[in-house]
Symmetry: D2
Subunit: 384 residues, 4 copies
C-alpha cells in the first residue's frame, strides 16, 4: 500500500524534519529511532513502511524545503550532512507543495474547494492508494461555539452563505474529508472535533485522529501521574514551566494561542488523578532557545501519615525531533485503519495525543497497550 | 482473618513508622494515603484490613518504641502529635518484641530454633490466624556462593555441623519457614532466595516475596524507563546519585553493603531497556539529611535522526514514609496468598520490589496490572 | 544604646519570626545564624545588639502573637518548642502592638497623626534611645505618579485638603519621620522613595533604607550574575519561576501586586549585566507550599566562539526564616546610622535589598564590602 | 610585545580550541566572549592582545590540528564552519609542534634538555619577545613526596644520577624555566609547586601560575560559597556530582587521577566557609557526554533559628569552551608580569584556578578585584 502524506504546514519544522527523516531512513542514512511503528512489537502487523510514504502539502510560507532543512541543521534538529545528501529528493517534494489557506479575503467555501482539489490532484499525480492529511501547522487560538458546527447541514449552509464558520484547522479537516482523505490533527486546534465534521467523516467512511501531539512535558506527565495514582500518593500541586523559542514559541507568545495549549496540557492530569489539584502550566517564549525546549515541573505530594515530599524534573528536548517520528507513525496507523474500513475518531491513537479524541484515559502504558492490541486487530482483519 | 506481622528490625525506622501508621489509621487519626491495598481497585477483594493486623518482632537494639516514635516525629517522618496519642498501644506492642540475632557466638542452629520459637509463641499468644515475617532490617553485604544453599539437606547438614552457612536475612527466612510463617524480604539481602529455602518453603506450603522495596529513585525509574522504550527513544546513559542520612545512610557508608544496593538498583534498567547502557548509581551518606533522601538522575537519550536530548529528575522523599505503607500492603497480600494456599515465590508482588523474585518485568504499570489481576484471582479462589 | 523596633505588619510571618528569634537568641535558646551583624567582621563595631532591641508595631489583623508563633512552628518556620518557652515575652510584646492603617474611610492626615502618636508613645513608654520603623507588611500594587509626591509642601497641602495622596507604605514612612524615627522598607512598595518624603527625612535628620528585602532567588542572582560578567560570559536569557504559598503567595496571586514584585526582581539583572536580556520572572501562588518557596532559574549563556551553555538552580527556602535576621540587622545598622547623624537614603545597605535606594550596584560581594566599610566608618565616627 | 604560547598538550581539546579561537578572533570571525582580558576593565592596561600571540607546543599524540578542529566542530565545541576557513593557519601552527614527553625509557635529564631546546628553538624561529609555557595536558595522579623536590641542588643531583624524580607536569615546568620561559599550570598536577622549581624560577627571574583551571562547578562554588558566608548561613553539606565524557572523562575514569581532581575541588570550599563540612565530590565518566559536562550540586544549609533549607544547581557546559579563553588570558597576563620583572608565584591570578598557588582566598569577586588591581599596577609600572 502506497500512502500519500499531505502536511498542513508542510514547510514548518515538524513537517520538514519528518520529511528529511523519512528520506534519510529510506536511504539508510538514519536509524528508525523514535518510530514506534518500527519497533519489534509492531514488526509483523502489515503497517505501511516509511518507504511506502509519498509527501506533499500546503503552507502559506514559501521558504524552499532545502533552505528549511539547512536552517534545521544549523539548530541541531537534523544532522548537518543530511540536507546536501537529500537535496534532489527535497526538490522533488518541493514540486508537490501548494499554497495554503491564509487569513485573506477568499470566500471560505471556495477556499475549501481549492484545498480539496489540491489533495485530489496529489493523489492522482502520485498514484498513491490513499492520502492522509496531517495538520502540523501553528497553534490557533480557542474558538467560540458556533451553531454551524452542530451539523453537516448547518455547516454547509453557512459556507454556502459566504460565511466563515470554520477555524483553519477545521477548514483543512473539511477539505480532507471532501477529498476522501483521513485527517490527523497534531496541533491543539479544533480540527475535526465538531458534530458537523464527525458527521461528514462517517458519511465518507473516513477515520480521524487528534489532537495535540504529546511530545515532551505532557509525555512525562502521562508516565509519572499513574505512578502516583498506583502507589496511592496524593498529588498536592503540579506546577509546570516551559521555555521555548522557535516558531512555536513565537506563536505561543500570543496569550490567546497559549491558552489553547495550556488548557490541553492541564486537562489530562486531573483526569488521571481523579481529583482536582493546583496545576498551573506556564509557557514562556525565549528566542535564544531556538528549536529547543526546556520544561521544569515541580510536583508536591503527600504520602503515609500526610508527610509531604516533592519531585522535580527537567526535560530538555527538541520538539520537532520528538514530534516528527510520531507524525510518520500516525500517517501509517491511520492509513491502515482507513484500509481496514474504520471511520470516525481513532481513540486507540491516544498514546500520541495530549487531548485524545474519544477517551479520557491518559495513562501512557495503558495507551500503549491499547495501541498494540488495536494494531493487532487491524492486522488480523486485513488478513481475513 | 487476623494476621500477625512479625518485623525483623522491629525498632527500625520503617517498622516503627509502619506501626505508628497502622495504629493511627485504625484510630481514625490518619488517612490511608500510601496504602495501595486500600484504594478502590482493591476494595472488595477480601484482603485483611489494617485493623486485622497485630504486630511483634525481633531487633538487636533496645530503644523503646515510644522513644523511636518521638525521634521519628522530630525528623518529620510521623506527625508530631501522634506518639503521645498512641503511647498505650506502642507500649503494648513493646511487650511483644524479642531480642534479634546479633553477630555473636551463638550456634546458628540454636539461634534459628530460638527465633522460630519466638514467632510461634507470638502466634499462640495473640491467637492470630497466621503470621507473616517481614524483614525490614539493615542492608547486608553481598554473600558468596555456598554449597549449603543448594538444597535443604545440605543446609540442614551444615547447621547440624555447627557451621554458619546463612547470612542473617536467610536465617530469619529459615526461622520463619520453620515456624510455618510466610516471609517477605524488604531489604536487598539474600533472604529466601536460595534453593535450600525455596525447597523448605514449598515443603511447608509457604509463600515468600522480595526483595528490596522499591520506594524512591527506582520507583521513578520503573515508571520512566518504559516511556523511553514505548516511544523507541534510545537511552544512552542514566546516571543516578543518591544522598541520604539516617541509619540506612550510615549502613550504606560501608562500601560492601552499598554494593548490594547499587547492584539491585542497576539491574532493572538494563532489563527494561533490553540493551546495555552506561548506568552508574552512587549512594552518599550525608548525615545532615537525617531520614530524608534526595536522588538526582540524569538521563541522556537519543531520538529521531540521532538527536541527543536529556531528562533529569530530583526526588526528595522520606524513605520510611514511602516504605511503611508498602510493608503493610505486603503483609496483607502475603497473608491472603497463604490463606489461598499459594507457596513459593510470589512473582505478582513485583510492583513492590527493586529486584523481584521470579520475574524480570520491571515496568511499573505492567506490575500494577499483574498485582490487580492476581488479587482478583485470590479473591475469587477464596470465594469458591 | 537601646533601640525600639516598630514593625509595620507586626503580626505577619516575618515580624513574628524576627521577634521569636530575637527573644530566643537573648535567652540562649538559638544561635545567631543568619544575623550578619553578629559575624566576626562586625564584632567590634559598636552596633546595638539583639539584646538592645525592644519590639512593638502596627497591624490590621488581630491574631495574638502567641497564636501566630504556634502557626509558624506548625509550618517549620520556628522550632516547635520555642513558642511555649517564650510565651511570657510574647504576651509582653503583644501589649505594645497597636491597630494599623486599614483601607477604611479615615482621613489620611488624621490617620498619619494617629500612627505617629503610636510610635511616639512606644518610645516614651519603653524609654528607648530611638525607634526604627520597619515595614514588613504585604506587597502593595504599583502606584501612579502623583504631584503631591514632588515636594513636602505639596504633600502637606494634599493631606490638609483631606485627600489620600499616599500609598500605605509611604503613609507609614511619613508617620515615622513625623515621629522622629528612621524608616526601613523591607517590602517592594513606594515607601519613602519620593521627593516629598526625602525632603522630610532630611529636614528631620533621619536616615531611611529600602526596598524589598533580598532573601532568595534575587540573592542568588546577585551572587551569580557578577560571575558571568567577570568571566565575560554573555547571558542570553534568565528565566525565573517562583512558587510559593503563605500570606505572601496569596497577596501575590493578585496580578497588580505581583507586578511590583516582578519589576523589582527583573531590574537588577539588566543593571548588573549592562545589557538587555530576556529575563521573565513568574510568581505562582500554590497554597500547599505554605511558608515555603521554591524558585527555579534557567540561565542560558554564551561562551568562547559563541558556544551556548546553560545553568539552572533550584532554591528551596523559607522566606520568613531568610528575611527575619535581615530585618534585625537593618534595625541595628539604621539605628547606628541615626546615632552617627546620617540622614537621607542609606545606600550602603544595598546588600539587603532587591531594589536598593540610591545605587544601581547589585553585585552581592561589592555590596558586602560597601556595608563593612561603612560600618567601620560609623564605628570610627562614633568613637571620635 | 609579541608573545609565544607554548602548549603542553598542544593537540588536546583545550589547546586546539584556544588556537582555533585565537585565529578566528584575529580574523574577525568570532567575538571576544570569554576573554576577560578583553573586557572594558582591562582595555587600556597594555596587555598583549590575541593578535600578539604565536602558538606552538608539545604533544605525544600525532593527530593533525586540522583533524582535531573538525572533531571539535562535530562535538559543537567550535563552530562548524571555522576549521575549513582556518585551514592554512592551522597547518602553519602544525609545523611548530614537537613531540612531547612520553612515559618511555628516555633519561629524564636528557628529556628535559630536549624539551628546553624545543622551546628555545620556537622562540628563536618566531622571534617573539618571550614564550609562556602553558600546561593543558591530561590530569596526572597525585605524586608522593620526594626529597629531590626540596631544593634545586637535590633535584639537579637526582637528574644527574639518571633518576626520574619529576612527574611530567613538573618536568615541563623545569624545561620551561631552563628555557627562560614562565610556566602556567592549567591542570591539577604538581607542576612548578615544589621548592626546587620555585628556587629555579626565582633564580631565572621567572613568574609561574597555577593550578587547575576553574571552569565549571568550582567556578560556581567560588561565586556561591561567599554568599552563604556573607549572609551568615551555615552550610551543612555540599555534595557535587560531575558527569563528563571526552578525553578528560576517560582520564578521570582512572581513580588515581580522579583523586587529584576531587582533592583540588574539595579544598576550596572548606577554606571559604571557615569550617569543616561534609562535601563529597564525585566524577563519573559517561562516554556519550562527549566534550560536554554536567554537574549537579546539592547544598544543604541552615538559617535563622536552625531552619534547614536547600539549594541545588545544574551546570551544563563544555569544558574546552570554558577553559580556552582563560588559557589565552593567562598567557597574556603572565607575559605582562614577566615583562614587568615579576618572578615566583603569581598569586593575583587566583581568579583562574581551583587550587591557586600562594593564596587561600577562593572568593571569586575578591579574586577578580585582586586581578584588576594587579593588572593596573603592572600597567603603571610598565608606563614608568
Amino acid at each position: 500500500m502506497r500512502v500519500g502524506v499531505w502536511f498542513v504546514g508542510a514547510r514548518g519544522s515538524v513537517a520538514t524534519t519528518a520529511l528529511v527523516g523519512a528520506l534519510a531512513m529510506r536511504s539508510g542514512l538514519a536509524p528508525r529511532t523514535g518510530c514506534v511503528a518500527d519497533t519489534p512489537d509492531f514488526a509483523d502487523l502489515g503497517l505501511p513502511t516509511v518507504e511506502d510514504l509519498v509527501f506533499g502539502g500546503h503552507d502559506v510560507v514559501t521558504t524552499p524545503l532545502a533552505k528549511r532543512a539547512e536552517l534545521l541543521a544549523a539548530e541541531r534538529v537534523v544532522p548537518a550532512h543530511l540536507p546536501a545528501l537529500l537535496a534532489a529528493e527535497l526538490t522533488e517534494t518541493e514540486g508537490r507543495l501548494r499554497s495554503g489557506a491564509g487569513t485573506g479575503s477568499e470566500d471560505q467555501a471556495a477556499l475549501a474547494s481549492r484545498l480539496t482539489a489540491d489533495i485530489e490532484e496529489f493523489r492522482d499525480a502520485t498514484g498513491v492508494d490513499r492520502v492522509v492529511v496531517v495538520n502540523v501547522s501553528s497553534v490557533e487560538p480557542p474558538v467560540d461555539e458556533n451553531p454551524a458546527h452542530a451539523s453537516l447541514a448547518a455547516l454547509e449552509e453557512a459556507l454556502a452563505d459566504g460565511r466563515y464558520p470554520l477555524p483553519l484547522s477545521s477548514l483543512y479537516a473539511y477539505a480532507a474529508f471532501r477529498a476522501g482523505a483521513p485527517f490527523v490533527d497534531f496541533t491543539p486546534g479544533l480540527g475535526a472535533r465538531m458534530s458537523a465534521l464527525d458527521e461528514l467523516a462517517r458519511a465518507q467512511g473516513l477515520p480521524y485522529a487528534g489532537s495535540d501531539g504529546k511530545t515532551g512535558e505532557t509525555l512525562v506527565k502521562a508516565a509519572l501521574a499513574p505512578m502516583f495514582v498506583s502507589r496511592n500518593l496524593q498529588v498536592r500541586s503540579w506546577v509546570g514551566m516551559n521555555i521555548l523559542g522557535g516558531g512555536d514559541g513565537a506563536t505561543l507568545a500570543d496569550p490567546e494561542a497559549r491558552l489553547s495549549k495550556t488548557r490541553s496540557k492541564g486537562r489530562s492530569l486531573v483526569e488521571t488523578l481523579g481529583y482536582e489539584v493546583e496545576a498551573p502550566v506556564h509557557i514562556d517564549y525565549v528566542p535564544d532557545m531556538g528549536e529547543w525546549k526546556t520544561a521544569w515541573d515541580h510536583i508536591s505530594f503527600e504520602g503515609f501519615l500526610g508527610t509531604q515530599m516533592t519531585m522535580q524534573f527537567v526535560w530538555q528536548g527538541c520538539d520537532s525531533t520528538l514530534a516528527s517520528p510520531l507524525v510518520l507513525d500516525l500517517a501509517r496507523f491511520t492509513a491502515s485503519a482507513h484500509a481496514a474500513g474504520e471511520s470516525g475518531p481513532l481513540t486507540n491513537l491516544a498514546f500520541y495525543f495530549k487531548d485524545p479524541v474519544g477517551t479520557r484515559d491518559h495513562r501512557l502504558a495503558a495507551q500503549y497497550d491499547a495501541l498494540l492490541a488495536w494494531a493487532r486487530e487491524l492486522s488480523e482483519s486485513s488478513a481475513r
